[in-house]
């Protein structure tokens, strides 16, 4: 899977930018605020319909304009022309593949697999459990469109069920209690499906992160990921334990009018040499871990779908020592197509791969090739 051509209109600083890419490494060089991250943002939109840094769509429209549009040509045996358009007034995003509109987000996400490594990744190891769930969900969703749909449904069930718990707290009617039983059953069914996917993911990912961490770190440290759902070991366990826990928290859930049990409260814990990273990790260990997670995501997705995702790397070399930069440079030789932003070239001479690489200078929303 490669992105060969990109047309950006009225998107932040880029009024009208056309880009042709290398199948291998593409470097965007420019100072801060010149529009190089914007190009990664545009690519991410085309792959996922979502914003790379969780900014609002409206914010991405150039100042004084009404809509942005992005047009990309992907190649995967055949050419896919993709187009995304966002209009401020209607606050609607429209997505087209080969000029046919696609409405179901689950049928877009994962079609053009993508991995992004950005400064915001610090939240994956240093942020809240929700940040880690988001990291895991974004990977599984790209691999399983059904998972994404189940997840969206699950979130809806949570909202409905907490509204119902609130009503039951106010008035304990038989009919409401019966309804709760129905919502609990759906919560149980959807939630179990989510946990099953997460368990498979955690098991596989654990193997992959071990290999990848060692390629980036100079220390002989062993990383791992722990995921545990109510001590379940088999598929049958999950539903039973989930059900038992719901029974146990039945009164509490009503008193607090909250969903207290389920995968929306899951925690993924990272370890280095069996010590919890979040509690004991140094800044350097966190940074290395974050990079290893994204490379692991890349190889995990490659293993599952058999095609290399597009790799986006935003400003990652800035605070790394020479040795680490060199190791990542080595690594870049085996990923497929990547898009990398840099503030300057001088310090990063040793990361180039081949004469096929493209160096593109970005200056105030305009581009020129080296």
């Amino acid at each position: 899977m490669t992105l060969n051509n990109l047309l950006i209109s009225n998107f932040r600083l880029h009024k009208n930018t056309e880009l042709n890419f290398s199948d291998e490494l593409n470097y965007f060089i420019g100072g801060n605020g010149q529009g190089k991250t914007t190009i990664l943002e545009a690519i991410y939109y085309l792959c996922t319909t979502k914003n790379l840094n969780q900014n609002s769509d409206t914010e991405a429209v150039s100042f004084g304009e009404k809509e942005f549009s992005l047009f990309g040509k992907f190649n995967e045996l055949i050419e896919y022309k993709t187009r995304i358009q966002f209009d401020i007034e209607s606050n609607k995003k429209n997505f087209f593949i080969n000029e046919k509109q696609v409405t179901r987000s689950a049928s877009i996400i994962g079609k053009f697999p993508v991995v992004s490594l950005t400064p915001l990744d610090h939240a994956i190891t240093q942020g809240s459990p929700a940040d880690r769930r988001k990291f895991v969900d974004s990977i599984i969703s790209q691999l399983s469109p059904a998972y994404l749909e189940i997840l969206l449904e699950y979130n809806k069930i949570l909202r409905q069920r907490s509204a119902l718990l609130f009503q039951i707290r106010e008035r304990k009617e038989k009919s409401l209690i019966d309804q709760l039983e129905a919502w609990t059953e759906i919560l149980l069914n959807n939630g179990t499906e989510i946990v099953k996917h997460r368990m498979i993911f955690a098991e596989e990912f654990n193997k992959i992160i071990r290999e990848n961490y060692l390629k980036i770190s100079d220390q002989n440290e062993i990383p791992s990921l722990e995921y545990n759902f109510l001590n379940s070991v088999s598929d049958d366990d999950i539903k039973k334990n989930f059900n038992d826990k719901l029974d146990e928290y039945y009164d509490d859930e009503i008193i607090r009018a909250q969903n207290l049990v389920g995968p929306h409260r899951d925690e993924f814990i990272f370890y280095l040499n069996q010590k919890e990273l979040k509690k004991y990790g140094s800044q350097g260990q966190h940074k290395t871990f974050q990079i290893a997670l994204r490379f692991s995501q890349f190889f995990y997705m490659f293993q599952v779908i058999g095609k290399k995702p597009i790799f986006l790397m935003d400003d990652i070399f800035g605070d790394l020592d020479k040795n680490r930069v060199k190791k990542i440079g080595e690594y870049l030789k085996i990923v497929g197509q990547a898009f990398i932003t840099l503030t300057d070239l001088n310090n990063n001479n040793n990361i180039f791969k081949s004469s096929n690489d493209k160096i593109i200078f970005v200056n105030n929303g305009h581009v020129h090739y080296a």
Partner: protein
């Protein structure tokens, strides 16, 4: 440009209708502006006649000219089977298939605690009454395959259990008539996850 007031009012009224956006409303209004006066009268009269003459069937809550609808009155229909649907539009859709010969029950929506739709605001008591007063053998739950439809189906199955009748749900999954390879990934994925055991 500011439109003449009568035109603006018409556009506003059309815009209130479901799935009619501002642009479509404007196109319809401009089209009507060019129509013959007679055509306009026919349209207006049909709207008023519909409002005056269409009632809701007292038994199944389908649309009807009389107190009971054509389906409920028909001697050819099997009155031991009731198909429960959300809206009148679902009755129309199922009737078109010519596959169902029983009666209907229009709930008027689905359970949704978030939007304040509870059992009392749907025709659920009426359904229970119908089941207890007649010789119903089967209830088919034909609700949409979303979370609200599913929870409503589970709720109905629960409260109808005591009547000892057959309760079925219409199947969800792959659309028929298309090959698996042409269905979208999410649909196929869900169908695989929701697979059933063949004894």
């Amino acid at each position: 440009m500011i439109l003449p007031e009568p035109l603006e009012i018409l556009i506003e009224e059309l815009n209130k209708l479901p799935s009619i956006g501002r642009k479509t409303a404007q196109r319809l209004a401009l089209h009507l502006l060019k129509s013959q006066k007679e055509d306009i009268s026919n349209l207006v009269n049909s709207l008023i006649s519909m409002r005056d003459n269409i009632k809701i069937c007292s038994k199944c809550f389908n649309v009807s000219v009389d107190d009971e609808c054509e389906i409920c009155k028909s001697p050819k229909r099997d009155n031991s089977v009731i198909c429960v649907v959300e809206e009148v539009s679902d009755v129309i859709a199922i009737e078109k298939t010519n596959e169902f010969n029983g009666l209907y029950h229009v709930l008027g929506g689905v359970l949704s605690p978030l939007s304040g739709k509870d059992a009392a605001s749907l025709k659920i008591d009426e359904l229970v009454k119908r089941v207890s007063n007649s010789n119903i053998k089967e209830i088919i739950l034909a609700l949409n395959p979303d979370t609200e439809g599913e929870s409503t189906a589970l709720y109905l199955a629960k409260i109808l259990k005591r009547f000892n009748i057959k309760i079925t749900r219409i199947a969800r999954g792959l659309p028929i008539g298309g090959d698996i390879e042409f269905a979208d990934e999410a649909t196929i994925g869900r169908a695989v996850l929701g697979r059933i055991i063949l004894e």
